[in-house]
Structures are given as C-alpha cells and as structure tokens.
C-alpha cells in the first residue's frame, strides 16, 4: 500500500494516465480509502478542467492587431534590406 506522499508524487502521472496498470490500481485503492488524497486528486482534476474551460491566455484583439502591423513592417524591411 502506498502512503500519501508517494500517491502525491504520482498524482500528475496518474491524472495523465501515465502510470502502469499495477500502479494505477494501487493509487486507486489508496484514493478510495484516504479522504485527504481523494480531495487533493479531485480538486487538482477540477483545476485542470477549469483551466481548460476558462480559455485562459487567449490572445487579446489589440495584440493580434499590433502583430499584423509589426509583421507588415518587418516584411517590408526584410524585402528592401535583403535584396
């Protein structure tokens, strides 16, 4: 049986499905019997779900617009200086 620290160390790999079938089963047995690790697992999984759903770090419209201006200038400079 794994202790809490070992389960915590494997939490990320377990969330990503990157543990062996044997380790997966051991982690699941621990989570079923340990309220604290179960809480940490569930809230970490929820964290990743919320991050995905939040659409974090979408490019702001003004940044996108400035990029186009900058790239047009860059291409003009490159074309005139490179030839």
């Amino acid at each position: 049986m794994l202790d809490c620290r070992h389960v915590l160390a494997e939490l990320s790999n377990y969330l990503d499905g990157e543990v062996s079938p044997k380790l997966k089963q051991t982690v699941e047995e621990h989570l079923a019997s340990c309220r604290r690790c179960s809480l940490v697992y569930n809230t970490t999984r929820k964290t990743l779900k919320l991050v995905t759903e939040a659409g974090a770090l979408e490019i702001p419209l003004e940044v996108s617009a400035r990029l186009r201006v900058r790239l047009n200038l860059g291409k003009t400079e490159q074309n005139t200086s490179g030839r």
């Binding site: 990320s12 940490v40 569930n42 809230t43 929820k46 919320l50 991050v51 995905t52 974090a56 490019i59």
Partner: protein, 228 residues
C-alpha cells in the same frame, strides 16, 4: 526522418498528417496571403508560449514578432521531419527565452528551490460542485490567468505548454529543451500550486466536519514527521 519512414508511420497511425503543410507550400511559392493565414492560425499558440515565458506583454509581443519573422525567413529550411507546430513552438520558446534573459529582474527566474513541504497541499476543503455557476466566464478567466501569472517562470512555462496549450509531455519537454523527467517533476508542482491558488476562490465554507478532518490530518503529519 525520411519521407518514406514518415509516410509509413503515418499510414500506421503513429503520426497525424501535418495540416499545415499545404499552407507552407503556398508560402514557399510566394503566396503572401498564405502567410497571413498561417499567422492567424497560430498566433494564439505563439502568444501563450511567449507570455508564459516572458511574463509581460511587451516582451511577449516582440518575441511573437520575431518568431513569425524567423518562420517566414527560414521556412525553406524546415525539414518537415517533425510537425510544423513543434518547430514553430521551439522557435517561440527560444525567442521568448532570449527576451527573458535580457530582463533585469532581481527575483530568481529559475528553480526557487521549493521544498517538498512547500508544495504539500494546504487547502484541504472540498470545492463547490459547480464553481462555473458562482463566477462569470470573464471572472473565471481572470482568476485562472492570475493564478497562472503567480507561478514562478519555470513552473508557468511548463504548465502553459502542457495544460493550457495541450502539448503532450514529450512535445512540451522537447519545446523547452528539458528532459521528460524534469518536465514531469515541474508539472506536478505547477499543478499543485495552481490548485492551491484556485482553492481560495472555489472552496466550500469551513464546517465543523471539515475542521475536524484538518486537525486530524495535522496530527497525522506531525506523527509522521516525528518518526523521521
């Protein structure tokens, strides 16, 4: 990887076909509109990488510009052995890292030498079932982005590439030029720190039951520490 090996792997389902290749062919043939399409398709990917690594908009925007200019200038040399997005992300990482190295910061940008104790979960109350119903979409985005910005750079870049941008562990490690084991170690810490940062917004109120559990866990921790 040779074309033949790549084709074999593709037909075996080991590699997804690269959707960007037709667009790249048009750019190489001199189609200016195709380059604009490429920028539009990938600007968010590049923005996420550069803002995660530099931590500020000014440097992120300059790194974005340099990234797309390099893509334009060096596209003819792109070997197509890897996916275009892998190559693009790698360029964006390098440009952003160059910006970061020039930043005059007094804080340590690299390993803050967090102890295991520092990343041990401390917020130990259940969360609301539907935090999405408590906050608006805009508020949720601000809360999440603020939490991401609170991470030290070495954790922020890993978290953004892996969990915001959705790269695989291997792809993220390759883009950052670090070992998969190092990426996994940082990712675990980043995720636990993100959980801690978000917990304050999403936890249920303290109840007598949750208080009793917390006291019990503290006693358990103290006993375990005493045995070491």
């Amino acid at each position: 990887m040779s074309e033949r090996v790549r084709d074999t792997k593709m037909s075996a389902g080991l590699l997804a076909p690269d959707d960007d290749l037709p667009l790249l062919d048009r750019i190489v043939a001199g189609d200016a509109q195709a380059f604009e399409e490429l920028v539009q398709r990938h600007e968010e990917r590049v923005y996420r990488v550069t803002i995660a690594i530099t931590g500020n908009h000014e440097d992120a925007e300059e790194a974005m510009q340099q990234t797309f200019l390099k893509v334009y200038q060096h596209l003819g040399g792109f070997q197509r052995a890897s996916k275009f997005t892998t190559w693009l992300t790698r360029i964006a990482v390098n440009e952003a890292l160059q910006k970061r190295r020039r930043q005059r910061v007094t804080e340590s940008l690299d390993d803050p030498r967090l102890t295991d104790e520092a990343v041990m979960p401390k917020q130990l109350r259940d969360w609301h079932d539907d935090p999405e119903k408590i906050y608006s979409k805009q508020q949720m985005r601000e809360i999440v982005e603020s939490a991401i910005q609170s991470l030290a750079p070495m954790y922020r870049e890993v978290f953004v590439l892996r969990d915001v941008q959705g790269l695989t562990t291997q792809e993220a490690a390759e883009a950052l030029g670090i070992a998969v084991s190092a990426l996994k170690s940082r990712l675990l810490r980043a995720r636990l720190m993100m959980r801690e940062a978000l917990a304050g917004h999403f936890q249920r109120p303290i109840t007598l039951k949750s208080r009793i559990f917390q006291v019990r866990w503290k006693i358990q921790d103290a006993l375990v520490a005493g045995f070491r």
